[in-house]
Structure formats: structure tokens, C-alpha cells
Symmetry: C2
Subunit: 135 residues, 2 copies
């Protein structure tokens, strides 16, 4: 790639270079950013982790994800569904019955998220040790 030739040039060229080299995440306009926001959102992470263990219904998820409101859960599920990370199966019975499960793509992201989460959990003591001040 001759991309490196332009590395000394203007900021515009620089950011273009970055975009070509390493994807567009660092560029503000990139659609990756919204996907990233969905999966790394507070509730997105936890929902993905729950669904990685298997299909679950709305209120089951709500019980497992401690602290999420109906509204936020619905919103989170919609984002993740529209990104193609999960399937929503609605059974036309009364009372309503809706099941959520990961798509193959969903399982791949969830695996990454889960690896990250598990790293944090098992390193929590190391982290708390290192902590100086607030937050």
C-alpha cells in the first residue's frame, strides 16, 4: 500500500489514511460508531451476556439484568435487533409471549463482550488495588 506515503501530509489526508488503514472507527461519521454504542451501552452489554446463555423472554431478561427499566430494556432490545444481533420471536397467544435469542452474528459480538466482562470480573481486585481516587 502506498498509503504510508501520505502520512506526512495534511490532517485531512492523515485522517483519510487512518480510515483506509484501520477502518473508520476513529472517524466521527462512521456507522461503526453507532453499532459500537449499541453493543457497549450499559444495558446492551448485559443483555448480550444474558442471551449468550440461551433464549429468554422479555421479563426473564428484565429479572436477570438487575436494575434495567422496561423502557430501557425495550429500547436496548430494539437497537440490538435492528443491528441484526438478535431474533425476536413473537407467539400470537394471549397473554403475549415473546422470545429473544442471539443470531449467529449476535453470538460473535456477545462472545467478545463476554470475554471483556469476564476479564474485568476476574481482575476486579487488581483494579481496585490500583485505584487511587474517586469515581
Amino acid at each position: 500500500m502506498k498509503v504510508n506515503d501520505s502520512i506526512e501530509k495534511s490532517d485531512e489526508l492523515m485522517s483519510l489514511t487512518l480510515r483506509l488503514q484501520r477502518g473508520e472507527l476513529l472517524a466521527a461519521e462512521c456507522p461503526s460508531r453507532s453499532v459500537l454504542k449499541h453493543v457497549t451501552s450499559q444495558w446492551g452489554v448485559l443483555v448480550l451476556m444474558v442471551l449468550l446463555k440461551g433464549t429468554s423472554r422479555f421479563s426473564q431478561i428484565r429479572k436477570k439484568v438487575n436494575g434495567v427499566s422496561e423502557k430501557m430494556l425495550a429500547q436496548t432490545l430494539q437497537s440490538l435487533e435492528s443491528d441484526g444481533f438478535l431474533n425476536r420471536r413473537s407467539f400470537p397467544v394471549v397473554p403475549p409471549h415473546v422470545e429473544y435469542s442471539l443470531t449467529p452474528m449476535g453470538e460473535e459480538v456477545a462472545a467478545h463482550i463476554s470475554a471483556l466482562a469476564e476479564w474485568i470480573e476476574s481482575n476486579l481486585s487488581r483494579i481496585m488495588d490500583a485505584r487511587n481516587n474517586s469515581n
Copy 2:
């Protein structure tokens, strides 16, 4: 699994069960949640990715992470530093010179974050294909 035996019981028992089984992330009060919030925050992710490539100065990071404000960058750097994920080296010169780099622990989280980000970037077209509606 005798876990299911308690599934009919109180919410308190339920969340206790979850905590014992799979760590505390799903419990609202867990300190893991704040760490997770820091590293998965919009700017946290991008800063970690930049620093994974090497030590960088404040304004260098600001240039690379497209769209971040001074305030948000400073705040992000502080959270990550106080979690022990990065080192701040300040040189007592004028004008000021401050370098940020990852700690060994920081490199570990950043590796996870980066893996996730790269997955998203390389699967973007698959994701955009799957997308039905808004967001």
C-alpha cells in the same frame, strides 16, 4: 441443577444465586459496572485503541480520536488512569508536556476492546445488510 429450585423464590435469593454463579456484573451494586462503564464508554474505547498503538500526548490523542472535546478527553483519561489502565507522565517544562501510555493491565483490556472494535469494523457490511430500520 438445583439453581432452578430457588427460581420460584424471592428476588433477593434470585439475584444472590446469580451473583454466586456468574460473578456480579448483573448485580446493580457491583463495582465491576463502573469499570465496565469506563472502558466501554464512547471515548474510553477509542482512547484505549489509540494508546494500544503507543504512547501519545494529550493533543495527539485529541486529533486521532475524531470528535472528542477537551473536556471529555480529560475526563476519560482521568477515569482510565484512576482505574489503573494508564500512566500519565507529566514533564515539568513550559509549555506543558504530558504523555499517556497503557499500563500492563491497560494493555489487557485494550486488547479485548480492540478485538471487539475490529470485529465490528470487519463485519460492518454484514451488519448494515441485516439492518432493517432506524438507529
